[in-house]
């Protein structure tokens, strides 16, 4: 047990890989695919249970603020280490990943009919890569997992997706790969800037680089434009992943074409890699640039919120509608992050989880009806509440959570983000206009739009009379389907009523990131003034 405890994160990463290997071996030996979903479900549940150990109070928090840290040399000649650890920022995202996986497996129970082994193998490999992304503390290892998560998703969309799957899969891959390669170049450049300025030899270790940044032995301001270029190289990679407004075009395609499990994971976890990356890397490595360019992100976020909502409104396809609502929701997350207030950033982190739960649930629900009718066009439905009351109830509750009804999770996140934006000091305040207020208010219209398109869709799908004869004999949800929705519903309510335990975890990290970004404003000036007489220099 101790061994597992000490290597907990590695176990979390490797357990699904072991599951995948076992699945493959099982398939090769027995030549049958029926039991494989059980094996996969077992492994994902086991991984979820193991991940609960993260809550353990005996976890030791290291000097850099991470617990369950492990640091093993990987490629010595370029000084890259398998350095992993978890802190308040990544904690809930790891749990979210392990939590959503068994649900994704259950949702594919009957939906996946062909090539089952390969499907579940890719799901398991995806889980490993996703957990790896959230726990890596070495930039190169992070990049590795970030890219590795692409391949299983590419296959999931490409093999088990809809009619236009090939286009969607390739678009998804190429978009993300383009961004992440820029990030790779930035990572290598960072390595050399570190080596050059500290004289210690390069490193990819985030904690080491951050320490050097904090004590001033590393500073991007010494090289003209270096900070800006590196910032954008990282930012573009994550903006594509989130996706932020002009880079979002891959998302609706990928979401629409992906199989249900793929959409759920994509919405719940993969998009979070972008916002997580911005917080973890851009905010900590480049606080000055983050503040400097915050306006760009806020503008793009507001455009994303409003644009996503407006486009969602006119979608004839339910799944595409939910996909565009994702763009809007992620806009809120970006807005909260770049408000650089504690509340806004907490809200952003919270909204990341909310979006994972709610939008994940919406995709599941869309999947249920698609399995029954093999269509997702809104006009095909109408009056579904009459034939599938349980389904309709669950769907409406999820819709309410998504549009931010009080006492459901979406409300807490959006509320915090708005309040954060109102308090924000990022944007200019002139005699006549406080632009922070303006952006908060503009974002607020997004909430109204969200209510419009979600409720309008719900009304057209569920209420009224059953107009389409094909819908008359639809079967309501099975116990399996209800069972896999219940934990999500419970979370929606719980997170809406008791946000405290969630927010408490990330409190400390958020405070330190926020302080670093906002203090640095005065800090740099102060530092340059003080430098000649700094005591450290004098002692030498």
């Amino acid at each position: 047990m101790d061994y597992i405890f000490e290597n907990l994160l590695t176990v979390l990463i490797l357990l699904p890989v072991a599951g995948a290997a076992l699945t493959l071996a099982y398939h090769m030996v027995t030549k049958q695919e029926e039991q494989i979903k059980w094996v996969t479900l077992g492994f994902t549940l086991l991984n979820f249970l193991v991940s609960l150990v993260l809550f353990s109070k005996s976890a030791v928090v290291g000097a850099s603020g991470f617990s369950f840290e492990q640091n093993v040399p990987w490629i010595r000649s370029i000084n890259t280490n398998y350095h992993i650890g978890v802190d308040g920022l990544s904690f809930w995202l790891v749990i979210l990943t392990t939590f959503i996986m068994p649900i994704a497996v259950l949702s594919s129970w009957n939906a996946v009919e062909k090539r089952k082994t390969a499907f579940y193998v890719f799901l398991l490999l995806l889980e490993s890569a996703m957990i790896g992304v959230f726990v890596s503390l070495d930039l190169l290892v992070f990049y590795l997992f970030f890219e590795a998560s692409l391949v299983p998703m590419f296959f999931l969309i490409g093999i088990w997706g809809g009619d236009n799957r090939i286009y969607a899969a390739v678009k998804f891959f190429v978009f993300t790969m383009f961004g992440s390669l820029l990030m790779l170049a930035a990572i290598i450049a960072l390595y050399y800037i570190y080596a050059d300025q500290t004289g210690l030899g390069g490193t990819f270790d985030l904690t080491v680089i951050l320490t050097a940044l904090k004590n001033g032995s590393l500073s991007f301001s010494k090289i003209s434009q270096a900070g800006t270029l590196l910032f954008w190289a990282f930012a573009i990679a994550f903006m594509i992943k989130v996706p932020v407004f002009p880079l979002h075009t891959w998302l609706p395609d990928a979401h629409t074409e992906a199989p249900t499990a793929g959409s759920v994971i994509l919405a719940a976890v993969l998009l979070k890699m972008g916002t997580y990356g911005l917080m973890r890397f851009n905010f900590t490595l480049f606080p000055d640039q983050s503040r400097e360019f915050a306006m760009v992100f806020i503008i793009l976020a507001i455009i994303g919120i409003i644009y996503g909502a407006l486009v969602a409104m006119v979608q004839p396809d339910v799944k595409r509608l939910v996909a565009y609502s994702s763009v809007a929701h992620m806009g809120f997350v970006i807005l909260g992050m770049f408000s650089f207030t504690e509340l806004g950033m907490q809200g952003a982190l919270y909204q990341m989880l909310n979006h994972g739960v709610t939008t994940g649930a919406l995709f599941l629900l869309v999947g249920f009806i698609y399995e029954r009718r093999h269509t997702r066009a809104i006009t095909e439905f109408g009056g579904i509440a009459n034939v599938m009351p349980i389904y309709a109830t669950i769907f409406i509750i999820t819709t309410m959570a998504s549009i931010g009804l009080p006492f459901l999770n979406g409300f807490v996140g959006e509320f915090l983000i708005m309040v954060g934006m109102f308090q924000s000091q990022v944007l200019a305040v002139t005699a006549t206009v406080n632009w922070n207020y303006v952006s908060a208010m503009l974002a607020g219209t997004g909430v109204i739009f969200a209510a419009v398109y979600m409720l309008w869709m719900a009304q057209r799908v569920f209420f009224g009379k059953v107009t389409n004869a094909k819908n008359k004999r639809l079967v309501d949800l099975s116990w399996r389907e209800i069972g896999l929705m219940l934990p999500l519903l419970a979370l929606m309510v719980y997170m809406g009523v008791f946000p405290k335990p969630f927010l408490k975890r990330s409190d400390e990290v958020i405070k330190s990131i926020q302080a670093r970004i906002m203090q640095q404003a005065g800090g740099t000036i102060e530092k340059t003034e003080l430098k000649p007489q700094s005591p450290a220099e004098g002692e030498k």
Partner: protein, 518 residues
């Protein structure tokens, strides 16, 4: 005294020990040839002889690789340094895998297998001499030995028009490029008074030593860039590649993309990075160095862009891989330029080692891909279009997933050899902190993203489409399985645990040339 003087003249500093690995390969080639003429019916044996020869040579080479410190022999004509040993190991691996891969093809089509193996060994000998030569003459001899053997290998399928076209094109253009190279070497000799690269490099280091006609050196350098550029398929000297690669028998194409290209890189590195260094205070070295670095950096950008963009448009898998090999030469050139711009000798050696590692990872991956393509192509390379791969993903899952792994490695995805290779070659270029080199890396990055499209296309075709025509499960012969296992293990090992190899590649100085103050 007179006799003693004569004795001195006729007895150069021979050291058989220094060239044992090369000699073994050459002898194995002769044995194969003789055996083939006495027992032409026994088709399996020559391959075995070739493999034994390669293995024996590898043993001696490994002994040198592990133990010896850099030195030179044969009056400085043969170098024994990690540049040579690293590359020679790559060549041996390439030819061993080529023998294994071509077994399937030799069986299927009645090609003169003995001749083929002999030619392959001679080509390998040529490659090894190219990396060992520390003298322009040795490098040229090695290059010609290699080239003539490969011209013939490209045309081995005598009845096939495409194969003939391939050999003919390769021969004519190759001879032309060799002439350029030789002329460049002659001009360099005229300018510096030596063909020995150590001496040439020293010419720049001594303030009193003067270069006869600096312009000659610049023209000579330019001509050599053309000559080597042809061999590594650097744009704009790449035009032959697609036709030659497409027409040549598939295993030979795999060999050409991996082996001769790496060999030309070895010589190219030695002549330019080690032979034409930048020496502080010597004007002519500054001109020369600045020119060649700038030229190669710009051509590298062209090379990868042209390779990638053209690869997107191909419908033939082999042709796609031909263009992809052009693009990969471009990526390797990034490390090359990084080596040229390195600030210290140590950084230069690391950069050279990273190019070697890159070419090793490319060779392993590419040969793996060609192994599968050879198997699936059937007699006379009939199945070569993307459409022929439609939906075979779940019909032959093992082969398809392996091919996908190779494609992802060529693309440079983490945990594969290609990823580490890319990181390693981009590194020295970024380290130089030069804006041209930074642009070069950004170009390489953008190109990698472009390349995703066509590498993925093969995966898309295999897995995401349904097969409409019938699919006959190919029988995988033992030798090909062995080659595939080597390739898969190689790709994963180099990608996950490549640490040891990188360490080994760069732990010794790349050259025996004396350290030069910069």
């Amino acid at each position: 005294m007179n006799t003693f003087f004569l004795f001195e003249l006729v007895t150069p500093a021979t050291s058989i020990k220094a060239i044992i690995p090369e000699l073994i390969i050459a002898i194995a080639g002769i044995v194969v040839m003789l055996y083939d003429s006495y027992f032409p019916k026994k088709r399996g044996v020559t391959g075995a002889i070739a493999l034994v020869g390669i293995a024996l040579s590898a043993v001696f080479l490994l002994a040198m690789w592990v133990n010896d410190s850099p030195a030179s022999s044969w009056n400085g004509m043969i170098a024994k340094d990690s540049l040579r040993l690293n590359f020679s190991l790559v060549f041996l691996l390439v030819s061993a895998m080529t023998v294994l891969i071509s077994s399937v093809w030799a069986e299927r089509e009645t090609i003169p297998v003995g001749e083929y193996h002999a030619l392959l060994l001679f080509a390998t000998f040529g490659m090894m001499m190219m990396s060992a030569g520390n003298d322009l003459v040795i490098i040229f001899l090695g290059l010609e030995t290699l080239s003539i053997a490969t011209y013939v290998m490209a045309g081995l399928r005598k009845g096939d028009l495409r194969s003939n076209e391939s050999a003919m094109k390769y021969f004519i253009l190759g001879s032309f490029a060799s002439a350029f190279l030789l002329y460049g070497m002659a001009l360099t000799y005229g300018a510096t008074g030596s063909t020995n690269l150590t001496t040439i490099a020293e010419t720049f280091t001594k303030p009193d030593a003067h270069v006869n006609f600096p312009a000659l050196l610049l023209v000579g350098g330019a001509m050599m860039i053309i000559g080597f550029g042809f061999k590594i398929a650097m744009a704009p000297f790449h035009v032959w590649t697609p036709d030659v690669y497409e027409g040549a028998p598939t295993p030979v194409t795999g060999f050409m993309a991996a082996g001769p290209k790496a060999a030309a890189f070895a010589s190219f590195l030695r002549v330019f990075v080690l032979g034409f260094p930048l020496v502080a205070g010597i004007q002519v070295s500054g001109y020369l160095h600045q020119s060649w670095v700038a030229v190669i950096a710009i051509l590298a950008i062209f090379t990868m862009s042209i390779g990638n963009v053209a690869a997107i448009m191909q419908t033939n898998v082999k042709r796609m891989l031909a263009y992809s090999s052009i693009a990969h030469a471009g990526y390797a050139l990034v490390g090359f330029v990084g080596a040229g711009m390195a600030k210290t000798d140590q950084a230069r050696d690391v950069a050279i080692a990273s190019v070697a590692f890159y070419l090793l990872s490319y060779a392993v991956t590419n040969l793996g891909a060609f192994a599968i393509i050879t198997l699936l192509s059937q007699k006379n390379d009939r199945r070569m279009e993307f459409d022929d791969y439609n939906g075979i993903g779940f019909k032959s899952p093992a082969l398809s997933f392996t091919l996908s792994l190779f494609m992802l490695s060529l693309l440079g995805l983490p945990l594969t050899a290609g990823f580490l290779g890319k990181v390693l070659v981009f590194r020295p270029a970024l380290e130089a902190g030069n804006s041209l080199l930074t642009i070069l890396v950004v170009a390489a990055v953008v190109n990698t993203a472009i390349s995703a499209y066509y590498y993925l296309r093969l995966i898309v075709v295999m897995f995401f489409r349904e097969r409409t025509s019938t699919w006959v499960q190919p029988k995988v012969p033992f030798a090909l399985t062995a080659a595939l296992i080597i390739a898969v293990i190689g790709v994963l090992y180099l990608g996950i645990a490549g640490d040891g190899i990188i360490d080994r590649f760069s732990h010794q100085p790349a050259t025996s040339v004396e350290r030069v103050e910069r």
